[in-house]
């Protein structure tokens, strides 16, 4: 029972990290819950062995004890003798989230940890919703940091914000092309640039592939950011810089990851669902999509670009498109 459960427990699944919880604690909690579930299964029937025991023999006249052969269960595999069957599980974490941020966090169990490195090398984009608050500036760009200055924000309008966001997106677009190390003179590179598939496939600073404002109700505003190679601190710094550009100041109230590659909020498991059967189901459900996406990203990019999969409808950004070693061939 235990080993069958372990066999179904190899792969990737995503978890919703609540704010205020460190990712390490989360990983340890998930590991403990999985171990609890695995150890709770019924142990296999104990092996029997034949022992010669002294005992009174029925049906004979003499009352003395004689050796008789009896089957006795061996205690060598008993949990009280050997200890629990499973004492540790290897659980790996994908792109980390710091303690204040919340959202989708990808975890890999057993052989799935290998897929984590593959996912990292596929360099897929991630979606964040970032909530900002105008009028304050703090030293760590968070709402509860040490206050540095307070400003007025009555002059800030939606158009100014949209203009600044467009400028940011434009500058990052240029950076995308430079960091992807593509030779723009080739036909394939031109086609890729036209369809908006260019991404850097190696280390690069934080790059924003798309940013837009969802809600604007001063002093609060909500941004949706699609980016790669980011840290949450850089996103908060981005909010701070947007505030500076608007001739006011802003702090970041909430950073929430809504999508990590191909894991969305719908697949993420909540705290109440961190136990063995739910995680096994999540791994089974995610396995075909994971295999398909990773195979697409490792396959060399063909000349004719087929229509990409479920992409975002705005800004023609395709987060999960194929981008093979073409970019490396380019330089």
């Amino acid at each position: 029972m235990g080993s069958a459960g372990l066999a179904r427990l190899q792969g990737l699944f995503s978890v919703y990290k609540p704010p205020g919880l460190k990712w390490k604690h989360l990983r340890d909690t998930v590991e403990l819950q999985l171990l609890k579930g695995l150890n709770a299964g019924k142990p296999p029937a104990p092996k029997q062995r034949v022992r010669f025991l002294l005992g009174p023999v029925e049906g004979s006249e003499e009352k003395e004890l004689t050796l008789t052969a009896t089957r006795v269960p061996t205690l060598i595999d008993h949990p009280l003798v050997r200890g629990l069957a499973f004492t540790s599980l290897k659980v790996g974490v994908g792109h980390r989230l710091d303690s204040q941020a919340s959202g989708v966090l990808v975890l890999g169990v057993g052989h799935g940890r290998r897929l984590l490195t593959d996912m990292y090398n596929a360099h897929l984009t991630k979606d964040y919703t970032v909530r900002g608050l105008l009028g304050k500036a703090t030293d760590d760009f968070c709402e509860d940091g040490r206050l540095v200055e307070k400003t007025m924000y009555d002059h800030v309008t939606r158009e100014k914000l949209d203009r600044i966001l467009a400028v940011i997106q434009g500058s990052h677009q240029k950076a995308l092309v430079t960091y992807s190390n593509l030779d723009l003179q080739t036909q394939e590179a031109y086609e890729m640039a036209v369809s908006g598939v260019i991404r850097p496939m190696n280390k690069s600073p934080m790059l924003i592939t798309g940013i837009r404002c969802l809600q604007f109700a001063p002093p609060e505003f909500l941004l949706e950011v699609q980016c790669m190679h980011e840290t949450q601190k850089q996103l908060r710094r981005l909010v701070h810089e947007i505030g500076l550009e608007l001739k006011s100041t802003a702090v970041c109230a909430q950073v929430r990851r809504t999508r990590d590659g191909f894991f969305t909020l719908d697949d993420a498991l909540l705290r109440t669902q961190w136990d063995l059967p739910n995680i096994q189901d999540a791994i089974q459900a995610a396995a075909p999509r994971v295999a398909a996406e990773l195979e697409k990203s490792l396959r060399p990019w063909l000349g004719t670009q087929e229509p990409p999969g479920p992409g975002q409808p705005w800004d023609s950004k395709r987060p999960c498109s194929a981008l093979g070693p073409e970019s490396h061939v380019g330089h």
Binding site: Y16, P18, P19, G20, L21, L80, S102, R256, L265, A268, L270, R271, T272
Partner: protein, 227 residues
């Protein structure tokens, strides 16, 4: 020795965990152990009570009579409870007698000075939830800070329902934010549509969603994913 423990009322299956924790009991004199049990009986602890206490706190019998006496006296003086109430407290949480007294003193100071509870309020809360005496100081202050300042629950309502100090803070936060979002965060007993604190923390998710928030569990989960 084992027969003596069995006489006290510890079952065969419970002997294993007991001896794992307190194997040093084998080096104690049988006479000393008998005196200690006699002392406890003289303080009007019934046989079943003593068995339960020894089961929960295996080190109880390794303490000398005067040490036990000091401890019981300390609790009686500090908490100013009657003899019967102290007895009930110790039966429920025998760890109080075996653990050190410093954290208990610190927690008493925290209750009085930082959280601002009166002596009778502290007594009431501790008789309901003895665990508060040994709880972590920082967690107590965090929970109280959230419940009092963010949820704006006054002192006397907290005293009536001390279970909030026994639950995890994130649970309280999540449920309160959900109720706030729905506009049903009403903890004042005089207002209509009032939600009692103990039901807020102790009911499982299903009953909480149906009964108090009047929403489905899927809504609660969707809300949790927006936090």
């Amino acid at each position: 020795m084992l027969l003596f423990l069995k006489d006290l009322g510890i079952e065969d299956t419970q002997l294993g965990p007991f001896l794992t924790k307190n194997y040093a009991i084998f080096s104690e004199d049988l006479e000393n152990l008998k005196t200690r049990v006699a002392y406890l009986q003289s303080k009007n602890f019934s046989k079943a009570d003593i068995a339960q206490m020894v089961r929960n706190a295996p080190f109880l019998l390794s303490f000398s009579v005067e040490r036990l006496d000091n401890r019981l006296g300390f609790f009686q003086k500090e908490l100013k409870l009657s003899v019967k109430k102290t007895r009930d407290l110790v039966i429920r949480l025998p760890r109080l007698l075996t653990g050190s007294l410093e954290p208990v003193k610190e927690n008493m100071k925290v209750f009085r000075l930082e959280l601002g509870f009166q002596q009778n309020e502290i007594q009431h809360m501790i008789t309901k939830i003895p665990k508060m005496l040994t709880a972590n100081k920082r967690k107590l202050t965090e929970t109280f800070d959230y419940v009092h300042n963010v949820m704006r629950v006054p002192h006397h309502v907290i005293v009536r329902f001390p279970q909030v100090f026994n639950t995890r803070l994130f649970k309280v936060k999540e449920r309160h934010l959900f109720l706030d979002y729905l506009g049903r965060a009403q903890y004042d007993p005089t207002e209509p549509n009032y939600i009692s604190l103990d039901k807020l923390v102790s009911v499982p998710d299903g009953i909480f969603c149906e009964g108090m928030a009047k929403a489905s569990i899927q809504d609660f989960e969707k809300f949790l994913k927006t936090l």
